[in-house]
Amino acid sequence: MMRMPLAWLDCRSLRIKSVSLRFALIYGALFVGSGFLFLSFVWWGTVGLLERRTENAITTDAQILAQTFTESGRPALVALINERLEQDIDDNALYLLVTPNNEWVAGNLAEWPVKIHGHYWFSLPVQRADMLNTARVRAYTLPDGYKLLVGRDLNGRTQLAHMLTEMLLWTCIMMLVLAVSGGWFIRRLFRNIIHSIGRTTQAITHGDMTRRIPIKGTDKELDEVAFTINEMLDRIVRLMDGVRQVSNSMAHDLRTPITRARAQLEEASLTAKSEDELRRAIDKAVVNLDNVTSICEAILRIAQIEAGARRSAFSEFDLVSALETVVELYEAVAEEHQVNFVCQMPEKLPFFGDCILYQQAVANLLDNAIKFSPPQSTIRLTVEVTPAPSDTAPALVHLTLADQGPGMNDADMARATERFFRAEQARNTPGSGLGLSLVQAIIQLHGGTLRLASNAPGLVVKIETPLYPHDI
């Protein structure tokens, strides 16, 4: 009872210390256990079988002899024993028949061994042909008090048993050696795997984000783990790059309005001659500070959308009526700029997504298009649905917005969705350079793509979103 908790504790502390050791121990225990079972079976199947067969032979022999005595009397038994001894080619049979007074009657043993009595199996040392052998014997009591001893000299079998025992012992030792070395090997293998993952992750925690776990192509399961970890690292790197890029541009683009506000306030405080002048400066500074707020808000919103957090607000809505509201809001603005606005949409289009965000995306695009369109030009908004190309792919909603403004060159188009990016021609128009980034983030949230192309002259924005992106 005292040993149990101790053993449990031991086991627990090993577990806590090292997983690889535990694996090695489990391996060793399994190996020794199965080896032991296997050897036991071999032992039972050879030595045990031989013993049982000898005992069977003795029993049968004794039965025949006893029957002869009962049926034909003593002389017949003596004759039979003598015959048996003569025919015994292996020279391993033992017989002895004695009177109730232990006087020799027949057989190849000189006298009745003292220790043998009753109906039990005995191992008896016998001196034969200058060799001391072991014999398996059993005594039988015959009618009239005669006693019969039947046995077999186990010389050959003993040697076999010895050989086997020795062999099995050696096998056991080898098995132990194999178990220990195998366990050690398993432990090393396990440690190597863990360490290769560990080294990589450690390098990464120390700041080397370029490191990846090598994929060997030989171990399927390990490669799967490595692949998953590598993918996770790729994602972390992308996110980190995003954060770095944003914080850099934020630092730069927020400084501009803050600097302006500061300059306006400081200048007013130093030089303003009248209250009116002071008020004007303060109002201007407030506008610049509001600009800071709206940039912060836009960035936070993009970050939040990119993190996918807003997908919880997804629901089914009619895309066409949602877009009509936006179009209606901007139609008036287009008219004010003397820009023609042509809109082509189906009558109804049930859509699954975030209505407010989708409206905001299209509003941003319309805002841009109107801002850059020269008077008398045309802005064209088209929404169409292409049916599902296959059972697995969803139907696509194509939203195209084409203007006849200055457009963008290829290099600008490639960078247009970057945060804070503003094309050269756009520097003098109001805006933060976040509009398209926001659109891009919203479209990506809806599982869609945003492409820019040239309208010669002008810009075409093409958006493709799956109609029911339930499971993206």
Binding site: A332, V333, E336, I356, P430
Partner: protein
């Protein structure tokens, strides 16, 4: 009007108190959730301006839900640095009547407080006709008349006018119009609202000489005689 302000930041508190007092309101103030809650439950106010995050273990949403559980229907305007749409929805769900994100302009806050109190008073009797000066609209037949001349308005123009009429004599900010008329909950970059208001002016003001829709500098618009 008697307004309770529950806000812990002294600068924001002074800013709001000063502005509202100058506008002729009586402002009571509490700088933590506990005092705020006891004031709000024991005394009667026309409106409560409530900061969401407060020291002292009792936060804004807690005060709000406690008030609503006691069937206290005083209009509550939530004030918060959490400008997220989801936060806004959470605030409105908890029983707030309006939500203003920090930083805010005082004009926006004042306009919204006054709109809240007005709405609270008007809800008692549903109106079918609204009129300001010689301008008159019928909410059932959707007829608009000024000086006995019928004016044809687009549906959205009608809703814009209706919103302005319901808040006649009050400053209405652009965001309020976006939310109230277009049901928009984001800030369009250009002043689309100005374009729509100027189109409305073309129809209801220009032919009649005397303007009813006035621009309030740094704030928004106001419809009044």
């Amino acid at each position: 009007m008697r307004i309770l302000l529950i806000e812990d930041d002294p600068t924001v508190k002074n800013f709001i108190t000063k502005g509202l007092t100058e506008a002729g309101h009586l402002v009571e103030h509490a700088d933590n959730g506990k005092d705020g809650l006891s004031l709000a439950t024991t005394e009667k106010f026309d409106a409560i301006v409530l900061d969401r995050m407060l020291p002292g273990g009792v936060d804004g949403l807690h005060i709000l839900s406690t008030l609503r559980q006691q069937n206290n229907l005083t209009p509550v305007l939530l004030l918060s640095a959490l400008s997220d749409v989801d936060e806004k929805v959470a605030g409105l769900k908890a029983g707030a009547d309006d939500y203003v994100a920090k930083p805010f302009s005082f004009n926006e806050l004042q306009a919204r407080i006054e709109a809240l109190v007005r709405r609270n008073r008007n809800e008692a009797q549903p109106q079918t006709r609204l009129s300001v000066g010689d301008l008159e609209i019928d909410l059932l037949s959707r007829n608009v008349k000024r000086a006995d001349t019928r004016i044809d308005l687009q549906p959205r123009e009608f809703r814009l006018l209706e919103f302005l009429m319901r808040h006649a004599g009050q400053v209405v900010t652009r965001t309020m119009l976006l939310e109230g008329v277009w049901d928009y909950h984001f800030d369009p970059q250009t002043n689309v609202i100005d374009v729509h208001v100027s189109r409305l002016r073309q129809k209801i003001d220009k032919p009649f000489g005397r303007p009813l829709v006035h621009t309030v500098r740094n704030a928004g618009y106001m419809l009044q005689e």
